[in-house]
Symmetry: C2
Subunit: 215 residues, 2 copies
Amino acid sequence: MIMNTILTTSRNTLNRISRYHSYLKVLLASGEVCVSSVTLAQKFGCDQSGVRKDLKSIGIQGRPHIGFDIISTLDVIEQYLGWQSTTEAVFVGAPTVGLFLSNQDFAIKGLKLLCGFKLGPADVLYTGDAGMEFFPLGKLPGLTRRLGVKAGVLCVPADDAQEAADMMLSGGIQAIWNLSSFELDVPAHVAVENVDFSASFAALAARLAAVNNRF
Amino acid sequence: MIMNTILTTSRNTLNRISRYHSYLKVLLASGEVCVSSVTLAQKFGCDQSGVRKDLKSIGIQGRPHIGFDIISTLDVIEQYLGWQSTTEAVFVGAPTVGLFLSNQDFAIKGLKLLCGFKLGPADVLYTGDAGMEFFPLGKLPGLTRRLGVKAGVLCVPADDAQEAADMMLSGGIQAIWNLSSFELDVPAHVAVENVDFSASFAALAARLAAVNNRF
DNA sequence: TAGATTGTTAATCGATTAACAATC
DNA sequence: TAGATTGTTAATCGATTAACAATC
């Protein structure tokens, strides 16, 4: 049987699978043991056979008349999303956001921020166990090479994004999680993943406006 | 001619259009006046006729032999994304992120954060023009109703998300921009837009792992 | 058993890509 | 003019939905 990985999964499917996980945790917490594709489909406004296909595609099997076992489904999804392993990364941008992403409660699963780099004045901020050390951006290449870190989170104003990215590239970074609204120019072997805040918010604002204009 | 709005546009198309905007700003800054669908298609790894369809769908016309005028294309995209108008919203969650989102340089287009609310101890933080006032969550319903604010940004740990969302709902909030990894349960008339950080990062981590394992 | 639910194939739908005449 | 580029239709591809036999 051919097992899908994240790399061979469409983005829509990936998003759904990640959302199933969130919801299954709620069901588990409320004492449920099994869930049917009908329940999931209802919650997510999609078709039940689509849900079954999604789960099947990552190797989850249900039981006729019963449904899908929540604990093992959660487990397989976590395997699939790679949450059992950790990716070490450096952060480039506003310390406030770096601290947020590295905060235990919010922590992005599988992401471990080693330290941060910031534009502008070269002070070292927030040292100690509660926070995260921040260095001036110029120190990045030396540090990432020394530590062998290959991933970075980029979260700077659009005007600074390319320059900061170039600094990351010269430090041997091969994967950039780009939270800046800027289309980076990077060599083909470097992976870039963009989080598009603006489009997402625009979609929400439009829906709100539509509701309010209707009355 | 039937003109598309955000509400009638597929999410893929919406994302592409938003990204065209980022790139067109770069081209404009570098002195370009026009751009062809071929250039855009190359940059974004999609088909040129798809680019033309995207632009056509929001009413942008090109000129044969010339291409698309950058300034007017940027203008139409901004109209389409609603960036000419502002949506007032309150923020619920970690002050550090609220300050980030409200920061001029990073500001999400069209989003205006009036104030923030936080879980836990009820101190007021960060008053004054540089920052943003934060109040205890319990004050939210009264304040949003008084101000007539209908939108909110939710950015709390998953365990607190539903409770915080309920507080927003009781304050008359009709649109929630959900940065928490939690599937909210809200009435049908309330718009929720989820930003899925975890799935996005998981996709990046998988690509990095694939590259590194190849050698 | 009867009814609920999966697994899976076939049908539908929509999005992407190919192709080419029309335009400048 | 010749060549570049759009606008648009048709073809392809993939994702979603419908349907139903198999299972418990």
